[in-house]
C-alpha cells in the first residue's frame, strides 16, 4: 500500500525571493491563507504555529530554512480532539527557478492510515496555493469562502 501523501506542483510568474517572502511572512500569509499568521522565528528547531483569526490551528517545529530554495516544518493540527491524537506530519516547500517562472512543489507527508488531517489538507492546500499564485501575479488574493472547501470544522 502506498504511503498516504499529498503532492502539489504549481508554476508562478515571480522570483524565488518574492515567493520565499510570501511563504514565510505573516504580512503575506494573512492575505492568501485565510487570514492566517505564521508565528515563528524560523530558526531550525524553533516552534512554529499557524494562527487563523487569532486562533492557533496548527503547531510544529522548523525543520529546514534554506532561502530561497527549501522550507520545511512539522505540522500538527490542534483544533479538534481527533486531529490532536494524530502524529505530527511534515510539510516541505521546494522552490526552483525556471526561466521567468518559479516551480513550487509542496509535499505533505507522514500521515497515519485513514488520517482526517490528510482529507482536510488535500482540500485546503490547492485553495491556499491558488490564492498565493494570484496574489503574486495579479496583486489580488482570491476570496474563497472557507465553507466551499467542505472541510469538517472549517467554515
Amino acid at each position: 500500500m502506498p504511503k498516504p501523501e499529498f503532492l502539489y506542483v504549481t508554476y508562478i510568474e515571480t522570483t524565488p525571493q518574492k515567493l520565499w517572502q510570501a511563504l514565510t511572512s505573516s504580512e503575506f500569509s494573512k492575505r492568501y491563507w485565510f487570514n492566517t499568521e505564521l508565528k515563528t522565528d524560523w530558526k531550525i528547531g524553533s516552534p512554529f504555529a499557524l494562527v487563523m483569526n487569532g486562533t492557533t490551528t496548527d503547531v510544529g517545529e522548523v525543520l529546514e530554512f534554506d532561502p530561497p530554495r527549501r522550507l520545511s516544518y512539522t505540522f500538527h493540527h490542534v483544533l479538534s480532539e481527533a486531529a490532536r491524537k494524530e502524529r505530527p506530519t511534515k510539510v516541505v516547500f521546494t522552490l526552483a527557478p525556471h526561466g521567468k517562472l518559479v516551480k513550487l512543489t509542496l509535499t505533505h507527508e507522514g500521515f497515519e492510515a485513514g488520517s482526517k488531517l490528510l482529507e482536510g489538507i488535500s482540500k485546503g492546500w490547492p485553495a491556499i496555493l491558488a490564492s498565493l499564485k494570484s496574489l503574486l501575479e495579479t496583486g489580488n488574493a482570491l476570496t474563497i469562502p472557507p465553507v466551499a472547501l467542505d472541510i469538517e470544522g472549517f467554515e
Partner: protein
C-alpha cells in the same frame, strides 16, 4: 497494485463560462497550452484531437461528456513516444462557481500500472493548468522552454 490516477484542483478568479471556453477553444488553448490546439466539434462521440505543436502529432480521443459550463470529458490517446500502444485514458474536467472564482477539478484516469502516458501527464497538467489560471486572471501566458522540452521527452499533455 492500484491503477494510477491523476487528480488536480485549481481555483481561478474567472467565470465557469470563461473557463469552459478556454478548455474547448483551439485559439485559446494555443495561448496557454504552449501552442497546442484542442480540436473537436464537441458533439458526444465525436473525434477529439490535441494538436501538439512541437511533436507535430496528435493526442486523439473522443468526446465523452460536454455539459457547458460544468463538465467536459474526453478520451486521451497520445500517438507518439510508444504511448500509442497503451489503451486510451480519460480526462474529466469539473467546473464549480465558488463566490468570485471557479474551482476546476481535473481527473485523468484509466491508465494501466506503469503507464508512460501517466508519467507525462502528471508533469504536464500542473504546468498547463497554472498557465490557464495566469491566462484567465492576468492575461499572462506562462512560457517555459523546458516545458516543451519536458513534453518532448515525456510525451506529456
Amino acid at each position: 497494485m492500484s491503477k494510477p490516477e491523476f487528480v488536480y484542483v485549481i481555483y481561478i478568479a474567472s467565470t465557469p463560462e470563461k473557463v469552459f471556453a478556454a478548455l474547448t477553444d483551439a485559439k485559446m488553448s494555443e495561448q496557454y497550452w504552449a501552442g497546442n490546439r484542442v480540436v473537436s466539434d464537441w458533439k458526444i462521440g465525436a473525434a477529439f484531437a490535441l494538436k501538439l505543436k512541437r511533436e507535430e502529432t496528435d493526442v486523439t480521443g473522443k468526446v465523452l461528456e460536454y455539459d457547458p459550463p460544468r463538465r467536459l470529458a474526453y478520451s486521451f490517446h497520445p500517438q507518439h513516444g510508444g504511448m500509442d500502444a497503451e489503451p486510451p485514458s480519460r480526462v474529466t474536467f469539473e467546473i464549480e462557481q465558488q463566490k468570485d472564482q471557479v474551482r476546476l477539478t481535473i481527473v485523468h484516469d484509466g491508465f494501466e500500472p506503469g503507464s508512460k502516458a501517466f508519467e507525462g501527464i502528471s508533469r504536464g497538467w500542473p504546468f498547463v493548468l497554472s498557465s490557464l489560471k495566469s491566462y484567465l486572471e492576468a492575461g499572462k501566458v506562462l512560457r517555459a522552454y523546458w516545458y516543451e522540452d519536458e513534453c518532448a521527452a515525456q510525451g506529456a499533455a
